[in-house]
């Protein structure tokens, strides 16, 4: 049960119930679609990059609480960051969800994203948590309109 409480933290459920930045963006500079064929999670990420800085970011999609809350938190946490900073944060986040349970996390870099640290105890949910991030990274790398899968 403690693993469950760890997984579905209040903040995670809050982002699931009231997702932030969940909207289409007409004037996005790049977008990408992500899909997890295993469970059908879908997420589209819209980015507006100006002078190397993520001026705006939003998402749309359907999926489980982990995928939707992760997408919501991702948008809040990369907004205003440079492309390089966002990519670096993705690496830290990815390291957190794929670490061995019990291993240390880089709390300072992660901030509230640490709410998803419990995912590492559920190996078949890691893809749910990382889908929006993979999609965001694909969009940053100009893989416009390309479908990302986490398989």
């Amino acid at each position: 049960m403690s693993d469950l409480v760890e997984l579905y933290q209040e903040l995670v459920l809050d982002h699931n119930n009231r997702p932030r930045n969940k909207r289409a963006m007409e004037d996005a500079s790049s977008t990408a679609d992500g899909y997890n064929p295993l469970c059908g999670d879908q997420v589209s990420v819209f980015l507006k990059v100006e002078d190397g800085v993520i001026a705006d970011v939003s998402f749309q999609g359907v999926g489980c609480a982990i995928s939707q809350s992760s997408a919501s938190m991702m948008t809040q946490n990369v907004k205003g960051k440079t492309v390089e900073e966002a990519e670096a944060l993705f690496e830290v986040f990815h390291g957190m969800v794929t670490r061995d349970p019990g291993a240390e996390v880089d709390s300072e870099s992660l901030g509230e994203l640490e709410a998803l640290a419990g995912v590492c105890a559920f190996p078949n949910r890691i893809k749910c948590a990382s889908l929006a991030w993979h999609t965001m990274a694909a969009s940053l790398n100009g893989k416009q309109q390309e479908q990302v899968t986490t398989e």
């Binding site: 469970c39 059908g40 949910r125």
Partner: protein
């Protein structure tokens, strides 16, 4: 004489995996529609085959080869009797239902499906009974037609009847839906198609462990199923085909065992069913499937089906009593499947939370994405039953669902 009550506890002792724990709790296995668990007799049959008689079949004069051939062909006879086919030659061993459907699509399909013709499937098909036909229709310039369903998940038979006509090359429809549990009126589906001279393939993957299947009575032209859903091993399946079709169909794969003689100029194909069994078959799997059929016959499929139906009714009542739960698939004729969605909670989250309670269910689209689109849902949570399940396991499921609501509250 009153029939013996179904002794589920005795049945459960036949399945060693049912006594294991998951997450520190007794395993509650409610995913038999994905694959069934295996009784000890099937596990033993595999070990006995490999430790006692392993050899290649249909060649070699030595004792082991003869014994292996007898075991292999003996299992074919068991399959024939189990589904009441007219002769052993109509039983083709495959890797599973999927391969059986692909065999028909490639072999009969390339003969019958021509430009402008039509193949009929339904809205509740598994991807394995959609994609092979889609590929074939694209290749041949044919049209794939889909019989719609109602909100309970029942086929609209009038619409099906209206689709049949001179253009129809083939009908391929599921006998029992894996995602909804609906049991289709297979006999009517076949009779209506036959009135137009159209052959029918029935996808029996889900039906075979839950209903007595009599291909003679159904009069279907093909019936495909998998061993692993019938308490047998993975990797083995059966395609039943009427002799008249199998004889005129070209081979599906070329290789050893499917030939009588080969020269570089010409190959003479083997007799049925070997024409469709190229290469060394999954001999152990066939032997295991034979053991599974013996086991099911010992239990009695009709008795087991009656018990399962009782469980299904109990489960339906219990789930329907939960506020915020909606059953997907409420056909009048259904078996074994309780597919549901919960308000505001994605099925994938339900699956994870139940797993921490030791309860195994399937969550997702169940390889029926067009069906999910029909119900405008991304996925369902599906509990599926077999005759080794109990009412107390359904109670555990109900408790797990309440727990899921709690976590999300």
């Amino acid at each position: 004489m009153t029939p013996q009550p179904f002794d589920v506890e005795a049945v459960r002792r036949d399945f060693p995996i049912l006594s294991r724990e998951v997450a520190g709790k007794p395993l509650v296995y409610l995913d038999s529609a994905a694959t069934s668990q295996k009784p000890q007799v099937v596990i033993d049959a595999l070990a006995a085959y490999y430790s006692g008689i392993n050899a290649n079949v249909h060649r070699g004069v030595h004792t082991l080869s003869q014994e292996a051939t007898e075991a292999y062909e003996g299992a074919r006879a068991k399959v024939r009797a189990f589904i009441n086919a007219a002769e052993d030659a109509e039983i083709v061993f495959t890797r599973g239902t999927t391969e059986g459907i692909n065999l028909v699509a490639h072999s009969l399909g390339t003969q019958r499906v021509v430009e402008g013709s039509e193949v009929i499937i339904s809205n509740m098909e598994h991807h394995s009974n959609v994609v092979p036909w889609q590929i074939l229709c694209e290749e041949r310039g044919a049209r794939l037609r889909v019989v719609p369903i109602n909100d309970d998940g029942e086929l609209l038979m009038d619409e099906y009847e209206a689709m049949l006509g001179p253009k129809t090359a083939l009908v391929s429809i599921v006998h029992m839906s894996n995602a909804l549990g609906t049991i289709n009126s297979a006999k009517d589906i076949v009779a209506l198609a036959h009135a137009h001279g159209v052959p029918v393939l029935l996808d029996g993957a889900q039906a075979i462990p839950h209903l007595p299947v009599d291909v003679g009575e159904l009069d279907c032209d093909f019936y495909a199923f998998s061993g692993h859903k019938l308490f047998g091993p993975t990797g083995i399946g059966v395609l039943y085909g009427k002799r008249e079709w199998l004889e005129q169909m070209p081979p599906y794969q070329g290789g050893g065992d499917m030939i009588k003689s080969v020269t570089f100029e010409r190959t003479i194909y083997n007799d049925l069913p070997y024409k469709f069994e190229a290469g060394t078959p999954h001999i152990a799997g066939v032997v295991g499937l034979g053991a599974a059929i013996d086991y099911v016959n010992g239990i009695g499929l009709e008795r087991a089906a009656a018990y399962e139906h009782e469980l299904l009714e109990y489960g339906t009542e219990q789930l329907q009593a939960i506020g915020g739960l909606r059953l997907i698939g409420t056909a009048r004729h259904k078996a074994s499947v309780l597919s549901f969605v919960l308000d505001g909670i994605h099925p994938h989250d339900i699956g994870t939370i139940l797993d921490t309670q030791g309860i195994a269910i399937r969550t997702g689209h169940h390889c029926t994405q067009p069906l999910m689109q029909r119900f405008q849902i991304p996925a369902t949570a599906r509990a599926s039953l077999a005759f080794y399940n109990t009412k107390s396991e359904i109670d555990a499921l109900v408790e797990g669902i309440h727990k899921t609501f709690e976590v999300f509250s």
